[in-house]
């Protein structure tokens, strides 16, 4: 009996490691060109260590494979480089990770504007940054990591603009010092490495400027606007769990609009926080669906430590073993860090002002904010304007519209990624039946 794991990032690798250590056969399916997920994209000693251990066990890892739909109650429809395939499962672990929260501002569609993690991912894929001028903006600790990656790749980081003000950042730092000193040390190390970079607190992007590509970014800081010439603008506002496959399977999930309620009542932040959303799991990482577990960022944003601990717990649980006490303890600590992060960097309502009437909110269908603002909900906006109906299927503009207008994005429906007609046809007429109908 094979345990199928979707996603070979930290959570998927840890799950595969635990399940195969428990003697189970494991099949890891991953859409990226190599294992490691986003944080270890482009390779890392940690990935090499996992690959060595997994290579000695009954573990197969397939890359460039995307789950696009369900082919039956216990089978997945995959799209691979060599065509469609149906993959049966008896036990399934979802480690589908997260994507960036990208919020619209004037000029964000220009080539050269990327996510904060996006620029990291592209740099790790070989995007040349040597001698390029980069501005990093948005909110959250990912900005530090993004700037560090750009510096290491030889870029000149012209400015790092964090939307949260100094008071918020000091409060976050104090809480890190008290409860997560190792994380504070990590942040301090990144800051030390960036000591020559102008670090603006309470600064937001007013606009990105350019014709065929980005030329400059206008930042708003302390009521003043300043334009900075740059080649790349890496901008991100946190992460959004990838719950689409869990939703298709019928797993209970927490929606972003429910996730922020506690903090909303306590501190008056927005009652919407995608970082605390995700697939609902119990202490053994079991979802609400029989024989389906979930681990890592898809259950709520918490970083690599949470992913590793949850992955390990899920791997043992799927193998029918109780989770090790050490992993449970690490998981608890990492989840508390995740909650602190979600609370400290919840999207600020003021960021809505970045989006002006002419700003394109839906990038796939080029739908501006002016065309969307008057609709009462996502469904009517979608029917009238095609917003969210393009190839990203609302992965970018869905969260943006939740943030801007308070619309609840509808659950994912199949196929959850753009796919070929041949792949879809393979479910209607399985490959074993040679005659097309």
């Amino acid at each position: 009996m094979t345990i199928v794991i979707v996603g070979a990032g930290p959570a998927g690798l840890a799950a595969a490691d635990a399940a195969s250590a428990a003697g189970q056969e494991v099949l890891l399916l991953d859409e990226n060109p190599a294992p490691g997920g986003q944080i270890w994209r482009g390779g890392s000693p940690a990935v090499d260590a996992y690959a060595r251990r997994l290579g000695r066990k009954h573990c197969r890892c397939e890359h460039g494979v995307r789950v696009v739909a369900l082919a039956g109650p216990r089978s997945l429809l995959l799209e691979t480089a060599s065509g469609p395939r149906i993959q049966e499962w008896t036990k399934l672990i979802l480690c589908s990770g997260a994507r960036e929260l990208l919020l619209p501002f004037c000029g964000w569609t220009l080539p050269g504007v990327t996510g904060a993690g996006g620029l990291q991912a592209l740099a790790k894929g070989g995007l040349p940054l040597r001698g390029k001028r980069v501005v990093v903006a948005g909110s959250g600790p990912l900005l530090l990591a993004s700037a560090a990656t750009a510096c290491a790749a030889g870029a000149e980081v012209v400015a790092l603009a964090e939307a949260r003000g100094s008071a918020d950042l000091l409060r976050f730092g104090a809480q890190l010092a008290r409860r997560h000193p190792a994380k504070l040390a990590q942040a301090a190390g990144l800051m030390w490495g960036l000591r020559g970079v102008p670090y603006l607190r309470g600064a937001t992007v007013a606009e990105a400027v350019g014709e065929q590509a980005l030329r400059a970014v206008v930042l708003e800081h302390r009521g003043q606007r300043r334009a900075l010439a740059c080649d790349f603008l890496a901008v991100g506002f946190g992460l959004v769990p990838n719950v689409e496959l869990g939703t298709l399977l019928g797993c209970t999930t927490v929606m972003p609009a429910q996730a922020g309620i506690d903090d909303h009542q306590r501190s008056g932040s927005l009652p919407w926080n995608p970082a605390s959303a995700g697939i609902t799991v119990d202490r053994a990482q079991r979802t609400s669906v029989q024989d389906v577990w979930a681990a890592g960022e898809c259950t709520g944003i918490g970083g690599v430590d949470k992913s590793l601990a949850e992955g390990e717990i899920a791997g043992y649980a799927a193998a029918g073993l109780p989770p090790p006490a050490a992993a449970l303890k690490r998981c608890e600590q990492a989840c508390s860090f995740g909650k602190l992060l979600a609370r400290s960097f919840a999207p600020l309502p003021a960021l809505r002002a970045m989006c002006r009437p002419a700003t394109l909110v839906c990038r796939c269908e080029d739908v501006s904010a002016a065309r969307l603002a008057d609709f009462p909900d996502w469904r009517s906006a979608k029917l009238q304007t095609r917003a969210g109906m393009g190839p990203c299927q609302g992965r970018v503009c869905g969260s943006a519209c939740e943030f801007l207008y308070g619309w609840e994005a509808p659950p994912a429906h199949p196929p959850i990624f753009p796919t070929t007609a041949a792949t879809l046809a393979s479910v209607a007429a399985p490959a074993t039946n040679g005659d097309a109908t």
Partner: protein
């Protein structure tokens, strides 16, 4: 050092490092453009991790491939500027 790959970007031969992504290869070739939007705007990779679909290009004649998720191969030909 990995060997270089000889590829073609919009009809122009380019040598890029083996193992880099198609998105990186486009930037090396001086083309910060992947697809063209429905209203004719140039676009380039945004999320870098296979989610946003902005980096669609045609690779070896197959349309709608994600430039950020595909690595170059020797002899590969890439066409940018695809529409819908």
């Amino acid at each position: 050092m990995p060997p270089d790959c000889q590829i073609e970007v919009d009809g122009v031969p380019v040598v890029v490092p083996a193992g880099c992504t198609v998105a990186a290869a486009l930037a090396i070739a001086g083309t910060l453009r992947t697809r063209v939007s429905v209203r004719g705007q140039p676009r380039f990779a945004l999320c870098g991790m296979g989610q946003c679909q902005e980096c669609r290009v045609a690779i070896d004649g197959v349309p709608h491939q994600l430039a950020c998720q595909v690595r170059v191969r020797d002899g590969m030909w890439i066409v940018s500027g695809e529409g819908r």
